[in-house]
């Protein structure tokens, strides 16, 4: 089991290397000159040359990549061209916001998706099933930021049940304040994933319910609750977990737009600001950090197969 996980971790390394190379190459495709951007608007030609040498931009491409990668591995992502702050500091400040948002969205998706999926899957063809399937189809096709706009409009502006925008950390506003500010964004962000999970769970439950071992479990007199939880759900879980892992990247992408609507100071807001201002060290740091998280989540998903599917453990 340790070797399987170990092999997975080793397999991540080349992927991260390619991603880092692609991210580093980004700056070389820019029409503008990084040195003159960093030197400021009124810099003379000598000043620009000085900055170029200071930043090491006059060295060959691969040498620059190697030293850049060496710094990145040690946690040095450089400084922002715009604010002159350390990129790592900006990222670690924004990360808790985005993590809170995606985590809550994921929890909402799992709760809603599993519930709807199980209800629909246990009685395929029933009215409840048809309602759940329709809701899921609509949910998948709904832009998350449109749902966010509607929620802000109805729940926050008309009913006044939640704050319109803003973020308070647990340290500032306590658990309730944190939760109140993130509830609407998390529901808006998590709906697509919830809908996808509903479909997968339903399909999995319908599929597993027809298997012989379920009939055996029912025939030997196990209570329905036990059959559903221990036999049906555990076996239906593998495709569901897979989808959850695949959806994580989409959740992070969606979070960028959602953060903008609710004024959350997370990675998304940082990304839009740095993209509009061509602040490449920050863009590079963001791509690397987000990719690392996506890869870690997929590692987690692969590891969870070991629990759900004993066959994987042996192979």
């Amino acid at each position: 089991m340790v070797t399987i996980v170990g092999r997975r971790i080793v397999a991540i390394v080349p992927v991260l290397l390619i991603v880092s190379f692609l991210t580093f190459s980004l700056t070389y495709l820019v029409p503008g000159d990084a040195a003159s951007i960093a030197a400021g608007d009124n810099a003379s030609a000598e000043q620009i040359e000085l900055v170029r040498r200071q930043l090491g931009l006059d060295r060959p491409f691969l040498a620059q990549y190697a030293s850049w990668l060496w710094h990145v591995v040690q946690g040095g992502l450089g400084t922002s061209l715009l604010s002159s702050r350390s990129v790592l500091t900006s990222l670690t400040e924004a990360l808790p916001v985005t993590l809170s948002l995606t985590l809550l969205a994921m929890l909402f998706a799992i709760a809603a998706g599993l519930l709807l999926g199980i209800v629909a899957g246990l009685r395929p063809g029933s009215a409840l099933d048809r309602i759940a399937t329709t809701v899921a189809s609509l949910g998948i096709s709904m832009p998350s930021f449109w749902l966010a706009l509607i929620l802000v409009n109805v729940v926050a502006l008309q009913l006044g049940l939640a704050p319109v925008a803003g973020y308070t950390s647990i340290a500032e506003g306590g658990l309730t304040g944190w939760f109140q500010h993130l509830l609407l964004p998390a529901v808006a962000l998590g709906t697509i994933t919830a809908a996808e999970l509903t479909r997968q769970t339903r399909a999995g439950v319908v599929d597993v319910s027809e298997q012989d071992y379920i009939r055996t479990a029912v025939a030997k007199g196990l209570p329905t609750r036990l059959v559903v939880v221990k036999h049906t759900l555990k076996n239906a879980a593998i495709p569901v977990v897979t989808v959850l892992g695949l959806q994580f990247g989409g959740l992070v992408g969606g979070a960028i737009v959602i953060e903008r609507i609710f004024g959350l100071p997370g990675l998304g807001t940082l990304a839009i600001d740095s993209v509009l201002n061509q602040d490449f060290p920050v863009v590079q740091g963001l791509v690397l950090m987000i990719t690392l998280f996506v890869l870690l989540v997929s590692l987690l998903v692969d590891t969870s197969y070991l629990y759900f599917n004993p066959k994987v453990r042996q192979s």
């Binding site: 390619i18 820019v30 189809s137 832009p143 990247g249 993209v275 890869l295």
Partner: protein, 295 residues
């Protein structure tokens, strides 16, 4: 996609696989409804200037923030007094063209590299697969943002980036399907007869990849449309004053206190179009499934 060019015999039994496939897809009422809706969107896009009651960019500053069904403005007016219906009609052009750019890029990259990786195998396959894994690990919207940081905001740049980000998905489908048929006898026969690799791939491998590719293309259209809407909403896609459904939602977001109804029409249009592409993708997949089952 190729259209069957040989004239079919009149007898009802001898149907080409393409005709059988089309018939299966059209048998479902859901698929038919989706095709009709998407057809309507295309018609609106092509004839937008003729259908629109007003100039979409003309500002009626004396009639701003009119709610729906006010006089001649069926869907109301926005913050500059522009007719929402006319703008929504013109915006359907973006919704047709923008996803096509992404899908075109993704198909070109995904199919060519996928066929190469699957057919040639060896180190070509390893290198291309690792590259696809790497691009796939970066969330599509994040990759799009990075490319826009380099190339600058704009609809074409945004859609090129989305296409690049979606290519690995098609790559995997094509590579998998190619691997599955590579060892078939008829491929070997084609090689023995003296077909060049290029001809073998184009004439004998590609048709086997067509069906799964069609499903993915339909799903990709809906993904690209959502991505266009998101990027235009953020102000990184289409630039004002040109309308797209995403850009109209941006206006609605900025004016949510004064014109809360502005959010309804563009959002519904996005949802229905995306829903049609999704359902159509599922429908084609089911039709292929049945095709396989009857053989």
């Amino acid at each position: 996609m190729t259209v069957v060019d040989a004239p079919e015999p009149a007898s009802a039994r001898a149907r080409s696989p393409m005709q059988v496939f089309t018939r299966r897809v059209l048998r479902s009422k859901v698929n038919l409804a989706c095709l009709v809706f998407l057809g309507l969107v295309v018609v609106c896009a092509v004839f937008a200037p003729l259908l629109a009651p007003f100039d979409p960019n003309l500002q009626h500053l004396d009639s701003r923030y009119l709610p729906p069904f006010s006089g001649p403005y069926v869907f109301g007016t926005d913050d500059l007094g522009r007719d929402v219906l006319s703008r929504a009609l013109l915006a359907s052009r973006v919704s047709v063209v923008a996803p096509l750019i992404s899908v075109g890029v993704a198909l070109t990259l995904g199919v060519s590299f996928g066929l190469a990786a699957g057919y040639v195998g060896g180190w070509v396959d390893s290198v291309l697969s690792r590259l696809a894994d790497a691009v796939n690990a970066i969330p599509a919207l994040v990759l799009a943002l990075a490319v826009i940081a380099v190339l600058g905001p704009g609809l074409v740049n945004a859609m090129l980036a989305v296409g690049l980000a979606s290519a690995p998905r098609l790559f995997r489908v094509v590579r998998g399907a190619t691997l599955a048929v590579r060892e078939e006898t008829y491929i070997e026969a084609a090689t023995v007869v003296g077909c060049s690799s290029l001809r073998t791939v184009a004439v004998h491998v590609l048709p086997n990849v067509r069906s799964p590719l069609l499903v993915q293309t339909s799903l990709l259209m809906s993904f690209a449309l959502l991505a266009e809407a998101s990027l235009s909403f953020l102000g990184l896609g289409i630039q004002p004053p040109e309308p797209s459904w995403g850009a109209m939602l941006r206006t609605a977001f900025e004016q949510q206190f004064l014109g809360p109804w502005l959010v309804v029409v563009p959002g519904l249009l996005i949802m229905c179009t995306v829903l049609s592409f999704n359902l159509l993708g599922d429908g084609i997949r089911d039709a292929i499934g049945r095709e396989r089952g009857t053989r």
